[in-house]
Amino acid sequence: MSSVVSARGLNLTFQTSDGPVHALKNVNLEIEKGDFVSFIGPSGCGKTTFLRCIAALEQPTGGSLSVNGMTPDEARRNRAYGYVFQAAGLYPWRTIARNIKLPLEIMGYTREEQEDRVRKVLDLVDLAGFGGKYPWQLSGGMQQRASIARALAFDADILLMDEPFGALDEIVRDHLNEQLLALWARTGKTIGFVTHSIPEAVYLSTRIVVMSPRPGRITDVIESPLPRERPLGIRDSKAFIEVAHRVREGLRAGHSDD
């Protein structure tokens, strides 16, 4: 099976007034269909930049990157992925349902199809009945779920998430992580997930990509031995703790050489 995302020798250098900044240096990674890949590392390690490269929101300065066998920009034009940002970014002048309709309107879905899909994704993220509410009437966690629903509403088989739960408290976060796994199991999407949190990365991912800064690079790729079915209790298991330990070691190793 061919990779959904394939990066070979990827480089990205920003030119700033203080000289060049190596946001990504020689990044090699294959993401297979149906993978849940987490990117973890300290700030400045390029994890968000890499995700933005996949989304064609940044332009790599070297190496090759393909998404669904196309260039990232072609993939973007083909609406190959849904992107979830750290902030929900819902339009305050649209209800939740109309916020979810936004990509559907832009992509030219018929009115009936829009209604149909909004209902389905609202169910999927457990927000049925909230379609008529305005964003300010919802809690932060609910808003973020609505923004995930918005990314799921159209037929993209890749879901890119940039610290989507970073601004939420631990309890809400646990709950959303559990829901996200259920959603992933139901939809079979390929997910790229940027996070700061080791437990979150280990709990969610089939593969964990550990990155380190200056220059931004991959220091370790960990294949998770955990089964796909993961109750929250799995976080106390020996396998989970071992993986978390290895991630922590990887992060420390990345830091030791600066």
């Binding site: 989304a55 609406r79 936004l102």
Partner: protein
């Protein structure tokens, strides 16, 4: 309740100050009239009185104080004189009368509204161009700023003369001046508003592969609404000033500006002040009306 009291207290203070100011302002004239009527005034010599300030005259001629609030052509009319004149020229006069302030107000208002519509339309169009084109941003914006540094009082006669020479007169020249004053606040506010969506919002639409038009209609325009209304409120007040200024150099026969001008020709201070208040009341109503529309629109949009 306390807010109402505070507002009333401020109004009372202003009116009180106004009555006080009338005493020294009008004392000279009152004493001249009193002397003619045979009253004893101090000092009796007109030349000596001219040398003295209004306050000291008032202190020496306390009996004349009530008369300072009742002159026919005072330097500074008292509040009740202006109020009476306002009442007589709005409520009592027939609207069709040339002396009705409602008639003159309508003449100015129609030019204001036309100018405001032109100015707002032009302002929005320029803002859309500026936001979407770097060339326009660099070429139009400086001129828009420069345009507002020229005193309108200098420019208005030229606009009227130039338009007259090509056969345009009546409401149009006034509306052009009024549009000239109002478009700028709309440009500035709309540019700010259309640029208000942050990078993340624009990135999101990029991930949908949205066109520029879709980005405009679905994101930039709705996001700019609060900014637009703030600009419109400034713009409509400026429009009214523009229409009044546009009435001055033509020696216009109708309009609030014409009332101001005629009042100053004939020393009719009460008429000047009532026209000024008429303009202020009109401006307040227009801004208030825009505020109501703003509330309704933003509420419908779910943003208020």
């Amino acid at each position: 309740m306390r807010q109402v009291l505070a507002v009333l207290a401020v109004v009372a203070a202003i009116v009180g100050l106004w009555y006080l100011a009338c005493i020294p302002m009008n004392m000279q004239g009152v004493l001249v009239e009193a002397e003619r009527a045979g009253a004893q005034v101090s000092p009796p010599e007109a030349a000596a009185r001219r040398e003295m300030g209004g306050v000291s005259l008032a202190l020496r001629n306390g009996f004349a104080i009530p008369a300072t609030w009742a002159q026919e052509r005072p330097r500074l009319p008292a509040p009740h004189q202006v109020a009476v004149e306002l009442w007589e020229t709005t409520i009592d006069k027939k609207i069709t009368s040339k002396r009705s302030l409602v008639y003159h107000g309508w003449v100015t208002l129609s030019a204001t509204l036309l100018g405001f519509a032109i100015g707002t339309g032009l302002g929005v169009l320029l803002a859309v161009g500026i936001v979407h084109s770097r060339v326009m941003d660099m070429s139009v914006m400086p001129w828009a700023i420069v345009s507002q540094t020229i005193p309108i009082i200098a420019l208005a006669p030229m606009i009227i003369v130039v338009l007259y020479s090509v056969g345009v007169q009546g409401i149009i020249p006034k509306a052009v001046i009024s549009a000239y004053l109002s478009f700028f606040s709309v440009v500035v506010g709309m540019v700010k508003g259309l640029r208000s969506p942050d990078a993340m919002q624009l990135d999101l639409l990029r991930t949908y592969n949205a066109s520029k038009g879709q980005t405009f209609w679905k994101l930039r325009l709705p996001a700019s609404m609060p900014y637009l209304f703030a600009s419109l409120k400034i713009g409509i007040a400026a429009s009214l000033v523009g229409a009044i200024v546009g009435e001055l150099p033509t020696g216009a026969v109708a309009g609030l500006g014409a009332r101001l001008l005629a009042g100053s020709y004939y020393g009719q201070t009460v008429q000047i002040w009532s026209a000024l208040f008429g303009a202020a009341i009109l401006a307040a109503c227009l801004v208030g009306l825009l505020g109501l529309i703003e509330k309704m629109v933003l509420k419908r949009m779910g943003m208020a």
